[in-house]
């Protein structure tokens, strides 16, 4: 405490923050874990090794990871173009990126279904070559890609904007071509941002509900995601089962974000 606090309002602002945070977020989440703990070890084991739960978990995490990966690749392309090139329509493209943040998920859900359904805009063509987009894992993957895309672009954009071209120039004077420079110089510098963007998209996709349930078809064992399974358990008045599945999901999400935090710190410590 070298410096006395000169600005007023510490007690009031911190007090309000902590009370509001506790009432709205922490206590309800604690209640969830308490409820789930009440089921006991055997109940947990039974539920989490249940075939329907396992199938839903595999689908949720698998589709989310694939979708986040595609979002990362397309996001890198779009970010690069937005930051490095000037072309007509650039501002419009930039503004459009946030659409999945702003468009309500239910609207995204019914719209993507209209596009990818067997009689839909694109779905009809895919259907003709034997690809079933809506009402299949592919549809879930497409919806989650839509949801995750802006996380990648908005995480990478400021980093790429701050990246000076000096290093790229140095690489060029040493005889490196553009592709080599990109692979060996630019990409490693973007890596922390890429990983953060991927994780944010992944974490969001795991919990996503509104945009998925319309396009997925919701068949148990086949196209049922974990959040939907929680809702079904709730509709069967099986509240403890819903609490256990929800707690399991949260533990995995929190652990994931924690690991990424550690990885970030480690990457930032690496001498450049």
């Amino acid at each position: 405490m070298s410096k006395r606090r000169v600005i007023p309002g510490f007690g009031l602002s911190l007090g309000f923050t902590v009370i509001y945070l506790s009432l709205l977020i922490l206590i309800p989440l604690a209640a969830l874990f308490l409820k789930a703990a009440g089921v006991g070890w055997r109940g947990w084991l039974e539920l989490l090794t249940n075939e329907r739960v396992l199938a839903a978990a595999k689908l949720t995490f698998g589709a989310s990871a694939c979708a986040a990966a595609l979002s990362t690749v397309t996001g890198l392309l779009v970010t690069w173009v937005l930051v490095r090139y000037r072309f007509p329509g650039r501002r419009l493209m930039d503004a459009m990126i946030d659409l999945p943040f702003a468009l309500p998920t239910a609207v995204a859900g019914i719209t993507l279904t209209a596009i990818y359904a067997p009689n839909g805009w694109i779905g009809a063509y895919l259907d003709r070559i034997g690809i079933k987009a809506a009402y299949s894992p592919l549809g879930i993957f497409l919806a989650l890609t839509f949801i995750g895309f802006p996380f990648v672009v908005r995480t990478m954009q400021p980093v790429l904007e701050d990246f000076t071209r000096d290093t790229e120039e140095a690489a060029a004077t040493l005889g490196a071509g553009r592709w080599t420079t990109f692979r060996r110089v630019v990409l490693p510098a973007l890596m922390p941002a890429l990983i953060t963007g991927f994780t944010l998209a992944f974490a969001r996709a795991i919990g996503e509900y509104g945009s998925v349930i319309f396009i997925s078809g919701n068949l148990p064992y086949k196209t049922e995601i974990l959040p939907l399974l929680i809702v079904s358990k709730l509709e069967e008045f099986n509240v403890p089962a819903a609490a256990v599945i929800a707690s399991g999901m949260l533990i995995i999400s929190f652990a994931l974000l924690f690991c990424i935090n550690l990885l970030q710190r480690w990457l930032n410590w690496q001498p450049r």
Partner: protein, 278 residues
């Protein structure tokens, strides 16, 4: 001349990359947005307006506006208080507090609804007590408000914290030495400095609050004309195979998204500040 040549790509590569990025944005973002409006008007304007004039639709709009009108100011107040606490002062547990503010982003909307059912539902901790006094939280407006507030909790704080951190506290400290009181400093010094970030945070919070689906669907009970918000009304219509009507109501939500994006672009244009997304 040579400076730009070695650090950019050949014209052909540039055109190729721009085209590819344009294709991605068109296919993944522009097409869905257009589809909302085209599907809504597929059966003509009459069906479109009929769907919007419907009584259930009007009550859904009213409920959506009411829920947002309560939860957004609550979270705005919190966002300002939290940003003030963590950017103007250094204290033990500050880093933890900042991570806790982000916590709701990692929680599925369905779980954000479930926690309230566990507390206030008929089988919940306070279920019996609420029943005794004939109070309704789940399947009623209070449940919808708190579920919405949970999901939109971090938005304002997330915008303000980096902004106020980068601005520092020099101006506020100067105001203190000139004898200004706390509220006066806040309204006269801080608010003018953060107004655009604050506006953008409220805007995002509001867009998400009005569009929230998963959390609200768990606590609402889908009572037509009573506890259906606009996104839930869209779902009900869609599940009843009234596709044009569902898309007609969805256009209202899509317009909300477009207005949000438009104002965001305008703020960035006027301030040169790049707002930071989610």
């Amino acid at each position: 001349m040579s400076h730009s040549e070695v650090t950019t790509e050949s014209r052909a590569v540039r055109v190729l990359l721009i085209t590819a990025a344009g294709g991605v944005v068109t296919l993944f973002l522009l097409l869905p947005l257009m589809a909302v409006f085209i599907e809504a008007l597929r059966k003509g304007w009459e069906v479109f307006f009929e769907a919007l004039r419907d009584e259930a639709a009007l009550s859904a709009v009213k409920l959506t506006l009411t829920a947002a009108a309560i939860s957004v100011p609550m979270n705005t107040l919190f966002g300002v208080a939290a940003a003030w606490a963590v950017t103007k002062f250094r204290f033990k547990g500050r880093a933890l507090l900042i991570s806790l503010i982000d916590l709701p982003f990692a929680v599925s909307p369905v779980i954000a609804g479930l926690v309230w059912v566990l507390l206030f539902g008929s089988q919940g901790w306070f279920g019996e007590w609420l029943e005794k006094y004939d109070l309704k939280i789940i399947f009623a407006l209070p449940g919808i408000v708190i579920a919405t507030a949970f999901v939109t909790f971090p938005f304002v704080a997330r915008e303000l914290i980096p902004l106020m951190e980068s601005q520092g506290s020099d101006q506020e400290e100067a105001a203190v030495t000139l004898g200004a009181g706390g509220w006066k400093i806040f309204w006269r010094v801080t608010v003018p400095n953060i107004k655009w970030g604050l506006l953008y945070g409220i805007l995002l919070c509001n867009a998400r609050a009005m569009g929230e689906f998963g959390a609200v669907s768990v606590v609402s009970g889908h009572i037509r004309g009573e506890t259906n918000t606009l996104p839930l009304h869209v779902e009900v219509l869609y599940n009843e195979y009234q596709f044009s009507a569902a898309f007609a109501c969805a256009t209202l939500l899509a317009l909300l998204a477009l207005v949000t994006l438009g104002i965001k672009s305008a703020i960035e244009h006027f301030t040169g500040h790049v707002a930071n997304g989610h």
